[in-house]
């Protein structure tokens, strides 16, 4: 594994798969079909895009002009802020896979993850230049910023939906249906997690109060 890092082919493969993300951006149907069926994508590239997204999201806090993004640093928790990307991503990947695997979806869990990460590519690609641009515009010219910023999110959403259709080999209608179903699956997971954690804390509290009572009677 480590020895492969010194090989030149490993790196050229990595670069090729990373550059393929840009092909997917401009060819949302062909690109994502080839991503899994032609093995054009790699996990390394998917991870890189995800990390780039997280870094851009963090960098935005500091380097976007205060005209567009005001940060209340006292209340900011970087880990929670990163979790606001990672947590929905994990819910989406698991929820989507769990549903589609029951209904003839061809994508594996890893492929769902890879395709979703590839679908995130517009976010770093658009937001990073936008972050720099925000420092040379005034409030009146701010419409450019807001429109492009919203565009990057819509673009990413379209790519992810299209990617899911291609890797599962779904028709357009079925794809949309399962997109909505996956969103519901995310809600269900949140519900289950909430119950789980409240149950655990109730259980822990029970033992804590037991020990307290014991100490009190001692």
């Amino acid at each position: 594994m480590v020895s492969s890092l010194t090989k030149k082919e490993t790196w050229s493969e990595y670069w090729r798969s990373l550059k393929f993300a840009f092909y997917c951006m401009t060819h949302p149907v062909d690109g994502f079909w080839d991503l899994t069926h032609e093995h054009r994508g790699t996990y390394a590239a998917a991870n890189t895009i995800l990390i780039a997204t997280l870094i851009v999201r963090l960098a935005k806090l500091r380097f976007t002009s205060f005209l567009f993004l005001q940060v209340y640093w006292e209340e900011l928790n970087i880990f929670l802020y990163l979790a606001s990307v990672l947590f929905p991503l994990a819910l989406w990947v698991i929820g989507n896979w769990a549903l589609t695997t029951l209904f003839d979806g061809k994508g594996k869990l890893g492929q769902v993850y890879m395709a979703t990460c590839y679908g995130l590519i517009p976010y770093p690609v658009i937001q990073f230049p936008l972050m720099l641009l925000s420092n040379v515009v005034t409030v009146e010219e701010g419409q450019f910023y807001s429109v492009l910023s919203a565009l990057s999110l819509v673009y990413a959403a379209i790519l992810i939906v299209s990617a899911m259709g291609q890797i599962h080999e779904f028709s357009a209608g079925k794809n949309l249906l399962f997109t909505v179903a996956s969103l519901f699956a995310m809600l269900v997971q949140v519900f289950i997690l909430t119950i789980f954690f409240s149950m655990i804390s109730q259980g822990v509290l029970y033992f804590i109060s037991l020990v307290r009572e014991f100490l009190f009677r001692l």
């Binding site: 005209l67 005034t138 409030v139």
Partner: protein, 504 residues
């Protein structure tokens, strides 16, 4: 053996308890540090402690004023030059005071009757106003009339209950607060009349209602009401406009009207206003450019037994357009500038000097404030501190166009209070007028003033482009020419490589 285990376990328990208690007491000590007497809100809405803006010069009660009959539930205050009129509502009289200094007031006259009417005494007079001609207007609430008296207290006119078809005839007319404009038109607030301010022409005729609050209700409430029974409907709150609590006529002839009968939800949803600035058409023209809305405390916790939004019982307006609202709920004064930024907030409920129990009226003399407390039966005189005087100085100099001096005053304000957002923005605006754009941008950025920052940045960018135009042109040209050149060289090379002449 058993005793030893018992001893050890008790000792352990003692340690646990001791360790457990220490941090708690430490915390309790730290949490008793309340906010300071004067405070302000920053960009994020956090309360920032501030040096005092106003300080109590003296509190005047009946004994300080040397009154034989003690004040009883006074409700109205009117400042006219260096004279101050106090409506001693409970004793049916009006007291005329003359200001000698901020620490000395002399009683000039005690007005308890007038000439020219069979009923020549007052009954619960609640407000007084004086026109430019020197005529007295008195809201004689208990008698249901507004009196216009000449300077010698001879009756000129009486303003009675307005004759209007929309008005419930059974309602008793109780004129509560009045203001007079330069033409001696009377604007009146009467208890139980919520159609706005009652406006009388100089000749005493009623000419309509102005500035009624807009009625707002949810569609859901409306439907709910349709299905409710008569008894249920009576229980629900009515969709009626709110009544004003007090009015003030500023030096430009605009009427500031305030009300406390508003809910927290309506204020937060911007469905209701605590203060309005009403023009002749009856429209609200108050500028609300501040980061935070103009309704006093934005944090409405139930601390100290007081909850809900601030209850504005009176308002007064300085000649520099700063207006001060008096909050009856928490006994505080809130000063806002002409753009709606919070300039200061101070006060509290209590019995110490500078604290109130039920403040009902506020007036000003230059930059001094008079606050009347109806339960304490006392007038508190506030004078600006060095900090407050500097802020006023900076604002006045900016209005006069002396931007450099204004900037210097703001610098000194900033030295006294580093958490005062208006100081930073003031320095920035002063730099902006002096065309020192980069410095201005730095100050605006610190306090998140995007509008002014954009103004400064636009000029800064323009200057920068003008200074660096040569570099920009060269870079732009290079961006086009170098790739073009490389392409050209490559195509020539390609042509040479593939030229037939070399292959043959």
């Amino acid at each position: 053996m058993k005793n030893i285990t018992r001893f050890i376990s008790i000792a352990l328990l003692g340690i646990i308890v001791a360790v457990g208690i220490t941090p708690i007491t430490a915390l309790a000590d730290a949490s008793t540090g309340d906010t300071s007497y004067t405070y302000n809100l920053d960009y994020w809405g956090d309360v920032q402690d501030s040096p005092d803006f106003y300080t109590v010069s003296k509190v005047f009660t009946s004994s300080e004023l040397g009154l034989d009959v003690k004040l009883k539930a006074p409700e109205g205050l009117f400042s006219y030059g260096d004279l101050l009129y106090v409506c001693d509502t409970g004793n049916n009289r009006i007291i005329e005071l003359k200001r000698v200094s901020s620490e000395k007031f002399d009683v000039l006259r005690i007005i308890d009757s007038f000439k020219g009417d069979p009923n020549s005494t007052f009954n619960a007079p609640s407000d007084i106003a004086i026109s430019e001609e020197g005529n007295y207007f008195i809201a004689d609430r208990g008698n249901g009339r507004i009196l216009k008296l000449d300077p010698d207290f001879n009756l000129i006119l009486t303003f009675d209950k307005p004759v209007d078809n929309t008005l419930d005839p059974s309602i008793t007319f109780q004129p509560n607060k009045i203001v007079i404009d330069t033409a001696e038109r009377v604007y009146c607030i009467a208890t139980g009349i919520n159609k706005g301010l009652i406006k009388y022409e100089p000749d005493g005729t009623f000419s309509g209602f102005v500035g009624a609050t807009k009625v707002t209700y949810d569609f859901l409430d409306y439907i709910w009401k349709k299905f409710a029974t008569q008894a249920q409907r009576a229980q629900m709150e009515n969709f009626v406009p709110t009544e004003y609590d007090n009015v003030y006529m500023d030096h430009e002839g605009f009427v500031y009207a305030c009300t406390g009968a508003v809910t927290r939800e309506d204020l937060r949803a911007e469905k209701a206003d605590a203060v309005r600035k009403i023009n002749l058409m009856g429209n609200d023209i108050l500028v609300r450019n501040g980061e935070w809305p103009i309704y006093g405390d934005i944090h409405m916790g139930s601390g100290g037994g007081y909850e809900g939004p601030s209850y504005f019982s009176d308002v007064t307006v300085f000649t520099n357009d700063i207006f001060v609202c008096l909050d009856r709920n928490r006994g505080r004064c809130f000063g806002y500038d002409d753009q709606g930024h919070l300039v200061f907030a101070f006060g509290g409920n209590g019995n110490m000097d500078g604290y109130f129990r039920r403040p009902v009226a506020i007036e000003h003399y230059n930059h001094d404030l008079y606050v009347l407390d109806t339960l304490d039966c006392a007038i508190t005189v506030f004078v600006p501190t060095e900090f407050g005087a500097l802020v006023y100085d900076a604002i006045d100099k900016f209005d006069q166009g002396d931007y450099t001096a204004s900037g210097e005053s703001w610098e000194r304000v900033m030295q006294l209070n580093g958490n005062y957002d208006l100081a930073y923005i003031g320095i920035g605006r002063s730099y902006l007028r002096q065309e020192r754009y980069k410095e201005a941008m730095d100050y605006f950025e610190v306090k998140y003033d995007d509008e002014n920052y954009s103004k400064a940045f636009k000029q800064y960018r323009k200057e920068w482009v003008e200074d660096h135009i040569a570099v920009i042109v060269i870079v732009l040209l290079a961006m086009f020419l170098i790739p073009m050149g490389i392409g050209k060289v490559r195509s020539i090379k390609h042509e040479i490589d593939t030229a037939d002449i070399f292959n043959t």
